[in-house]
Symmetry: C2
Subunit: 560 residues, 2 copies
Amino acid sequence: MASKIALLQVNPIVGDISGNAAKVCEFSKQASNAGASLAVTTELAISGYPPRDLLLQPDFIRACHDTASTLESVIPILVGTPVPSVGERSLPGNGVVRAGDSVREVTRKQLLPTYDVFDEARYFESGKGPGIARTIAGLDIGVTICEDAWQHCGATPNDYDSDPILHIVEWGRQGVVLDATVNLSASPYHADKSSIRVEVARSAAASLNHPFLLANQVGANDDLLFDGRSIIAWPDGTAVVAPSWTEGVLVADLLSPDACEWLGDGDVTILSPGEELTSGDDDLLDAVIIGLSDYCRKSGISKIVLGLSGGIDSALAACVASAAVGAENVTAISMPSRHSSQHSIDDAKATAEALGINFSIQPISDLHSSAESALKETLANGNPVAAENLQARLRGLIVMAHANANGAMAIATGNKSELGQGYCTLYGDMAGGYAPLGDLYKMEVYALAREYNQRLGKDAVNESTLTKPPSAELAPDQKDEDSLPPYPVLDEILRLHIEDGLDATEIIGQGHDSMVVKEVLTRLARNEHKRWQMPPAPRVSKRAFGQGWRQPLAARHDWR
Amino acid sequence: MASKIALLQVNPIVGDISGNAAKVCEFSKQASNAGASLAVTTELAISGYPPRDLLLQPDFIRACHDTASTLESVIPILVGTPVPSVGERSLPGNGVVRAGDSVREVTRKQLLPTYDVFDEARYFESGKGPGIARTIAGLDIGVTICEDAWQHCGATPNDYDSDPILHIVEWGRQGVVLDATVNLSASPYHADKSSIRVEVARSAAASLNHPFLLANQVGANDDLLFDGRSIIAWPDGTAVVAPSWTEGVLVADLLSPDACEWLGDGDVTILSPGEELTSGDDDLLDAVIIGLSDYCRKSGISKIVLGLSGGIDSALAACVASAAVGAENVTAISMPSRHSSQHSIDDAKATAEALGINFSIQPISDLHSSAESALKETLANGNPVAAENLQARLRGLIVMAHANANGAMAIATGNKSELGQGYCTLYGDMAGGYAPLGDLYKMEVYALAREYNQRLGKDAVNESTLTKPPSAELAPDQKDEDSLPPYPVLDEILRLHIEDGLDATEIIGQGHDSMVVKEVLTRLARNEHKRWQMPPAPRVSKRAFGQGWRQPLAARHDWR
């Protein structure tokens, strides 16, 4: 009996149908050479995930489906692709097409996630249930798509009406013998999710009483990250997990964990029953780097420019940029004003030198004076924040001029904690095509800076940057703590509210100061206006600003 | 028999539970005084529509539901409100609660629109079917919620599995006699939609063989506009329609179109069978004005600042701002650079004077020179667009300084045609909290300017502004047509693609130049990056940028 099934862990580009198809073919060839007799792609591998409103264009659906159906694979292959609607007034499906030996549609995704970052009910019509690919490479294989497997172990936020895994179990009771069940996934990353995904696979394998194989997309598209980590799990809980953040093929041997092979960089992880997949700051750093690097590569951006203030955020952003597009393609500009301290310039320089990125010092004092004198009356009679913002916006102007002149992308360097509090300047430090740290809490920024230093083997972020009190340096002796709670407290309150859904009363009940909690949550609500215009940021936490955090804008009425 | 049912056409503020409830009570009292024996609110009147991710907070749902259930109405009332989930792992419902006489839940919305601007499958669990409010004010009333009535006449983009109107018709066949069916709606505006909504009501009334009454929300929340125009339709096609863009109560008499009364500004429109509801530029202008005025009022913004260039877009934006928050609360700044012509300053001044708004001229020449000299090397060796953008960004900086100093909101003045082509500057003319013209094609901007002049009785937009060739004036002798097709052509191509979903081949098939079409669609795809950061704009066309036009960002691969 054929026993090797290849999980093609690809990094597709949304909309690049022919490129994605070519990659699938190439990977299936490698898989065949390594002895696999059947290949399985990730979910919507032909279109890339998430195709968003491209799915509203019928010719896009047709092009994907035609390409999937005519794939030249040396071994039989199960391909994830959009499939045309069945009726004239209905939506297309999120389907699996069999190609390589005979061509037919195998199944359409039944459970369509429509929460958090998912909006599949917007695009797809639900399928009727799981599928079976019969006598494919001599095997009979159950076929499911991503969410289809998640209801079974209760890992979805709410229950669905049906459970496709149980559906296959029921077939088994009726005498349908399958060799394995596969799952084509595009399951986005967030910290800690990889271990949940292993549980999903184990739970399915245990109920099905045969191996369960999950092929997961890798790489970033827009603000969504996919960590790969394709899985084969056995009924006893043994699992083999492919590496994260890298393309390749997991040649999974149904008969033996030890015979599973990874074609690509890195190596598989073999988990004993009950053993968890762990990950830490190292993983989070990879996530942030691939977010930016894929965003650039897929958008045809090769150069990055940023303001390097000497603070922790821009320092880490420079590290990430340097890892993402190469130090030689990063330009950092120190733009001191009269409120900037000498250590800011020195620390910025230290980071630039350690990374080997392009660096220049462009004081904004003269421009700042010109702007202040042009706006003399306005600033004299107005809210002092206007004068502070002026500096941030002049810096934004300089960074954008460099970006436009040189065909580079500016990046915004803010973190989730300050974005959540509106402690940032629209069109100033918020300017940029991408915010690599936009979903990291402030204390995570510190942790990743230390992690980056360790990885680099030297201090790209020096001790001064890591230890001095955070300051925007937009006014004399300004400190973040003059306006915000200490970051460990702020981070915790934000996390409890955003990630865990706790309200003010519940957070206060956990021992936080009542006044502080209310101030933090009020600022969070009132600054949705700003966040509406923030650049995309890689989603690394359970709930990011943006698609997973859509408060009404105009209505500032905090209903509590 | 009681024969008067009041449709409470309210303008709720999302999240302002107690304020919305108070308004409903006040309106129901007016309705009672006018002889109505039953009141019906709009959909989710207690929370306001769209509540978006507030619906993910269980305490928000509970607060809405408690408020709706304890409403002090002098007559029985059917109240639209979120209602709690039925199971622990399920979503809440979009429901109707009966109050005023006895308290009970009547129904939950069955058809949950999840297309275009709608994402109700994200928030709600589907109801089981329509409801009946029995012996309410002596009547038996069928109860449906918004989309529930749209499947019946085929006015949804795709078919649903069920048809709640047919469901009630079926009850009728089984002997359930109803006096009328009501529909609680929050049906967003787009140009031409009002006539479709009348057809929905007529179609339902005809099949039900009794009057069909639709209470629709009015006003703007974020980027969504609601035009009101609540309706009563009879089986023969006669209909009475409430005024648009204004709050009030339609006291609908089931027995007589002529006895229907509107409590509020304006008057009802009586339509004979087959007669259509028409609307034109006047309506579109109202839509744009209420978009901005509600955004400001609901966000606590009383003052607006904008750059007034002497061009058509900022001229109309000034008109709209002046109508929205009052001329005395609008500040317009003319910011000529060395590339600006004298007529630009003169025309800006003419607009400001005609409107009576605050006006100042703040030349940017000095600041521009300072910036150019600070960025000398960068600009000398780079893409010339960097130097052009510099001017737009200095203007954005000045406008934002005024906004921040004075607690005003800056508005972005761009239109849909230029935003669609990326013919605008991020953090420059795109800066602002709201883009009042962001969903108007360029030729619509001209039409509304003429309409505004007519309404005002004098030329707020002078003939020079209306007739001179559009120019960004960022380089010597620059004209929009140097970079873009003539606007009538551009608008038409964009409209065919965005609104009607035609692809390049189909648009060329309609007689447009092949090269022009491809250039336009390529620019449209490539500028999604910019639009991702555009301020909210009132949705007036069938498909706006933003929630109804979500192309993948990073993936610039135009798949054609």
